[in-house]
Amino acid sequence: MIEQYIPLILAILIALLFSLFLLKASSWFGPQRPNPEKLSTYESGMEPVRTARERFSVKFYIVAIMFIIFDIEVVFLYPWAVNLKNLIDLMGFFIIAEMFIFIIILLAGYLYLLKKGALKWD
C-alpha cells in the first residue's frame, strides 16, 4: 500500500534538505563579490563567442530513438523473465515461442540499423 513508499518520499525530502543546508552553508561562509569578468561564461580564457545553445547533430536524435525502442523492448522482457518458471508451468513452451517472435521482429530492426550504418558515430 501507499505506506510502503513513505521511506522513498522521505529519502528525497532528506536529500533536498541536506542539499539546501550545504548550499546555504556555502553562502554563509563564502564571499559574495561578483564582478562582470567573474560572471562571464568560461571559454578557456577567451571572450565568449555567441551563445552555446546552438543546433545539435542529428546523431543524438538517432541515439535517443534507438534507446527508446530498445528500452521498451527490454521493459517487456521484465514481466516475462520475473515470472518465467510460473509461465512455463502455465503455458508450456509456447511462452518461449512468444518472446522468440517478439525478439526476432526487433532483431530485424536491429539488423536494418546495422546495415544502414546508423550505429556508426562519425
Binding site: 536524435y61 530513438i65 527508446i68 515470472n83 511462452i95 517472435i101 517478439f102 521482429i105
Partner: protein, 171 residues
C-alpha cells in the same frame, strides 16, 4: 482524510500546475522539464492505484527515455524561443477553444451527473494483486498476446521511420 486522499490532492495539484505551466511556458526546455514533473505526478497516481510496475515504467520510459528524445529534438531544431513559431492565424485558436469548452462540459457531465455514485469506490484487495508484475505477466502473455506481438511491429516501424527521417546523414 486518509493518507491516500492527502497524497491524491498533493499529486493532483502538482500534476495540474505542471501541465498548465508546461503549455503557458515560452521556453521549450522549461516545458520539457515541467513535463517530467508531470510524469512523476502521474507515476504517483499509478502507485495510488497499486500499479507499481506501471508507475516504475512511467518513470523509466517517459521521464527517462521520452524526455531525452524531446530535449534532443529541441537541441536539433534549436527551438530556443517559441515566439518565432507563433501562428498569426486566429481561426485555429477559435476552433481549439470551442473544443476545449465542449471537453470541459463533457467532464462536468461525467463527474457530476453520470458517474456521481461510482466515484466513491473503495480499493478492492484484488487490485493490489492485479498491479503486481507477476499478475501483469500472466495476463500480458495470454489474454493480450496479440497486442503484445503487435507492439514489436510498432517498434520496428519506429526504427525504420527514424532512419528514413535522418537518412541523408548516413548516405
Amino acid at each position: 482524510m486518509t493518507l491516500e486522499q492527502i497524497t491524491f490532492i498533493i499529486l493532483a495539484l502538482i500534476g495540474l500546475t505542471s501541465a498548465l505551466m508546461l503549455i503557458i511556458q515560452k521556453n521549450p526546455v522549461y516545458s520539457v522539464l515541467l513535463l517530467i514533473l508531470h510524469f512523476f505526478a502521474l507515476a504517483g497516481f499509478y502507485l495510488l492505484l497499486n500499479a507499481q510496475f506501471i508507475a516504475v515504467l512511467q518513470i523509466l520510459v517517459y521521464a527517462g527515455a521520452i524526455m531525452v528524445l524531446f530535449v534532443f529534438v529541441i537541441m536539433l531544431l534549436n527551438l530556443s524561443n517559441e515566439e518565432a513559431l507563433k501562428d498569426p492565424f486566429n481561426l485555429r485558436k477559435i476552433i481549439a477553444s470551442i473544443f476545449g469548452v465542449v471537453l470541459i462540459l463533457q467532464f462536468g457531465v461525467f463527474f457530476f451527473i453520470k458517474a456521481k455514485d461510482d466515484l466513491n469506490v473503495t480499493i478492492s484487495p484484488n487490485s493490489i494483486e492485479a498491479g503486481s508484475i507477476k499478475k501483469i505477466s500472466e495476463v500480458l502473455f495470454s489474454t493480450y498476446l496479440i497486442p503484445f506481438e503487435v507492439t514489436s511491429f510498432i517498434l520496428l516501424v519506429g526504427i525504420i521511420a527514424a532512419i528514413v527521417l535522418a537518412k541523408r546523414k548516413f548516405e
